[in-house]
Amino acid sequence: MNIVSLIILVPLIGAVLTLLTKTKEQARVIALVSSLAPLVGALYMIMQFDSLTPSMQFVESYNWVPSLGIYYTVGVDGIAMPLVLLAAIVVPLTIIYSWGEDKQPNQFFGLIVALQAGVMGVFTSLDFFLFYIFWELTLIPMYFLISIWGGPRKDYAAIKFFIYTHVASLVMLLGIFAIYFAVWAQTGTPSFNIPYLLEQFQLLESSLLRDSIFLALLFGFIVKMPAVPFHTWLPDAHVEAPTAGSVLLAAVLLKMGGYGLFRVMLPLLPFTGSPNLMITILGFIGVLSILYGAMLALAQTDLKKMVAYSSISHMGYVTLGAAALVPLSVSGAMFQQFSHGLITCLLFMSCGAIQHIAGTRIIADLGGIGSKMPKLTVLMLFGFMASLGLPGLSGFVAEFMILTFAYLTLPTYVLLALLGIVVTAGYHLWAMQRAVFGSLNEKLGNLHDITNYETLSMAILALLVLYFGLNPAPILGMMTTNAEQIVSLMAIAGV
């Protein structure tokens, strides 16, 4: 068994062990250890990783259901590796952040670790069957996290999240079926192998079929991202989810949608019946999400909901960068995924801490907490700055690359997206001004600063955001090779 399987399996076993523990101490230690193991694995993989080849590395494959062409095949390339790293970083930090969780700690930590196993599986699967299994598996822990540890409207939010994204996955599944059978009929061998199917896609004769497959798969991914107008599950889920749930939802689960965009959609796009139409659709969705998300964030009264809408807005950049199909805009979009994962984590942790300590997240009810919570304020400000795209932090690198290079092919969209930057700055600063600065709202009672565990995890995130903002090359290096390869398909298709 090689390293990729281990980073899936270890958290899976860890999750089971955690569920079986009796005390809080055992639960969190086991959870932390088993979620750190993938980090070690991911770092090892990065050391061994060859950034110069776009092909899959660390591949392993076993028979699973050969009669249907299903194999257990896992591996990583430049698209997946950074996301594996992201998931490996974020989950342990979330556990550290939630160190003091008292309500059913064994289940809480167990579900978090199970979620990690799920996303690791999604990012490394090279077989659509396996991919879909992991894709769906991530739903369950998140559903529980929202339902058990959630806020007042958790029932509504949890079921909405569950069914909404499940419908999307099912539509995606239809697309998977379609490509599978179409290729089967074409070549005579059944296979769910992702690279193989993507390769064979162009040989399908009917352009209607190709377009339908493309759109079905696309729907599955953009709902997950989520893109406007399929986004309404996200704010509800975020508002009701516990902090750890929000963090994982925004930092890791949304990335699955973007990952699908790069892994599946872009290689198919040049070979659809009307690639230009598809690019227009993607670009439009991207810009719409950027602007709409930012505008709605401005209207929010709940801090966490605002951050949720900001996620929608930021994920719009991913779509836009992908739609542009310029190597560096695509790598920028991939980097945006990675960077947003870290930043949004920081933001949600801040909101969670405020909720936890001040007892409310309504911006109007807060005010002036900065003077009582200096550590939180610094970290939160850092996160906000990163989120509004301050240069020197990772968010800027990604957004700059996306906007600059997407302008080469989609100038109008980029000019529209640039408007969003001002609004983005606006809602961040306005929220900061009302919630954290100003005179202290006396109704909040006795406030104290965040705990050391919370500080630790948030500080690590902040450092990572800074580090990757100053030195994005290692991560970008992995992505660029694959991005170039994806874009080169456009030329092959003659678009």
Partner: protein
């Protein structure tokens, strides 16, 4: 030359059934031993069936056929019966009439097995009746409970009506083809093509089998009966005898009346869509878990019926695999309801509405294992990986795409999403709501049955290869 070994499972079960009945007359109060005995018999039958998986013979002047399809379904039936029998050891614990219970249970199993092997309409009909009659009695086994008797009554009346319809249909088929042998009908079925009588025969047969499958509009007995019957019997009905309808339909439509496929394909497509939609939509608003499972069972029948509408090897394999998965999922789910019923009764002897969903509140704290098992079962029923429910839906739904019936796939998938709503509600009750009452430990028989069902669901889900392969082999019989 007849190879009697192939009939050994049926023979063993008959022997065990008769012995159970006889012994039951002589032993006194404690008849628990009979349950163990029946279980052993079922295990033996199961292993004998497994040992002859690849048989392909027709026996007794062509009235019985032993092939991959029959073996597959026999294993489904025996497995369900085994699970139900094990669980019933607890259910019949202090019952004077446990001997009758187990005998009837075994008889119904034999009936189903005969249907699975039937290669002649006479055999099929007689097997059908054996299974039906035994289960009529079983459904009313709680005879002091008005609900149980009502369930039996409804089951019986609609069952008899269906038998009559089926027989009427059979008579027309016989009239047109001049034979009752299934291969013989297949040879002469040309006469039925285009004739109005052929159409009527097909619809009546669908009504007859549809009664067992619980296809809308032949399903209306099912929710009442599943709810009223003793829970272990509901499990048998939903997971076992429902499948008998499918295997009969496979034999009669796909093998015998293949030339009429345009007719019954359309019929099954219509029924499948109505069935799954109605089942799911109505299940949402149920407050009794048993009744909810009943509607879910109706919906699942709709999914399986898609196999007939699609009619490709892949679809048949999917449908067949689905019956196996559904056997484990549904049995498991009903057994959980039985365990919860036991728990509620042990709290309060005179409890009413023991299958109400309120009794599932906080089950994760009261009975962690049962709650976990139930969660796996409902997620499997809603088709979430990596469970048996997922892999079977995967194969089945994918076959609709393969055949180009995208609209059917879309409807099925939307239904699947709707179903998540009420399945998730069960999970919500078990895991998110506060418990009323303390921890209760599951009685051993229930626990064993649950473990077995759980193992079935997960093994098929995680290592589907042998099962898919096997289902495909079984499907080859049909094409």
């Amino acid at each position: 030359m007849t190879n009697y070994m192939l009939l050994a499972p049926e023979l063993i079960l008959t022997l065990v059934a008769l012995t159970t009945m006889m012994v039951g007359l002589f032993i006194g109060k404690n008849k628990t031993i009979l349950g163990y005995f029946a279980s052993i018999g079922l295990v033996a039958a199961l292993s004998l069936t497994v040992s002859s998986l690849n048989a392909n013979e027709t026996l007794f002047y062509g009235t019985l056929t032993i092939d991959a399809l029959s073996q597959f379904f026999k294993i489904v039936f025996i497995s369900v019966s085994l699970l139900v029998t094990i669980a019933s050891i607890k259910y019949t614990e202090n019952d004077q009439n446990a001997d009758s219970f187990f005998t009837l249970l075994l008889f119904s199993t034999i009936g189903m097995m005969v249907v699975a092997s039937a290669n002649d309409l006479v055999t099929l009909f007689v097997g059908f009746e054996l299974a039906s009659l035994s289960t009529y009695a079983l459904a009313g086994f709680d005879k002091k409970d008005p609900k149980s008797i009502e369930a039996a009554m409804k089951y019986f009346i609609i069952g008899s009506l269906s038998s009559a319809l089926m027989l009427f249909g059979i008579s027309f088929v016989y009239g047109m083809t001049g034979t009752t042998s299934i291969p013989g009908i297949a040879e002469n079925a040309g006469a039925l093509v285009g004739s109005p009588v052929g159409l009527i025969a097909v619809v009546m047969l669908i009504a007859g089998f549809g009664f067992k499958m619980a296809l809308v509009p032949f399903h209306m007995w099912a929710p009442d009966t599943y709810q009223g019957a003793p829970t272990v019997v509901s499990a048998l009905l939903a997971a076992g005898s429902k499948k008998m309808g499918f295997v009969a339909a496979f034999r009669v439509f796909v093998v015998a009346l293949a030339v009429l496929s345009p007719t019954w394909q359309t019929a099954f497509a219509i029924l499948a869509v109505i069935t799954m939609t109605l089942g799911n939509v109505v299940a949402i608003s149920q407050t009794s878990v048993k009744r909810m499972l009943a509607y879910s069972s109706v919906a699942q029948a709709g999914y399986i019926a898609m196999a007939f509408a699609v009619m490709t090897p892949m679809a048949f394999a999917g449908g067949i695999l689905y019956t196996l998965s559904h056997a484990f999922m549904k049995t498991g789910a009903f057994l959980v309801v039985a365990v919860v019923g036991y728990m509620v009764l042990s709290d309060n002897k005179n409890a009413k509405d023991i299958d109400h969903i309120d009794n599932f509140k906080g089950l994760s704290k009261r009975m962690p294992f049962t709650a976990f098992a139930m969660m796996v079962f409902v997620f499997a029923l809603s088709g979430i990986p990596p469970t048996a429910g997922y892999i079977s839906k995967f194969v089945l739904f994918s076959s609709t795409i393969e055949a180009g019936l995208v609209w059917l796939a879309v409807i099925a998938i939307l239904n699947s999403a709707i179903s998540l709503y009420y399945y998730a509600r069960v999970v919500k009750y078990m895991y998110f709501l506060p418990a009323i009452g303390g921890k209760v430990s599951e009685p051993a028989p229930y626990a064993i049955a649950l473990i077995l069902a759980l193992a079935g669901v997960l093994v098929i889900g995680i290592w589907p290869e042998p099962f898919v392969y096997w289902a495909m082999e079984a499907a080859k019989v049909l094409i």
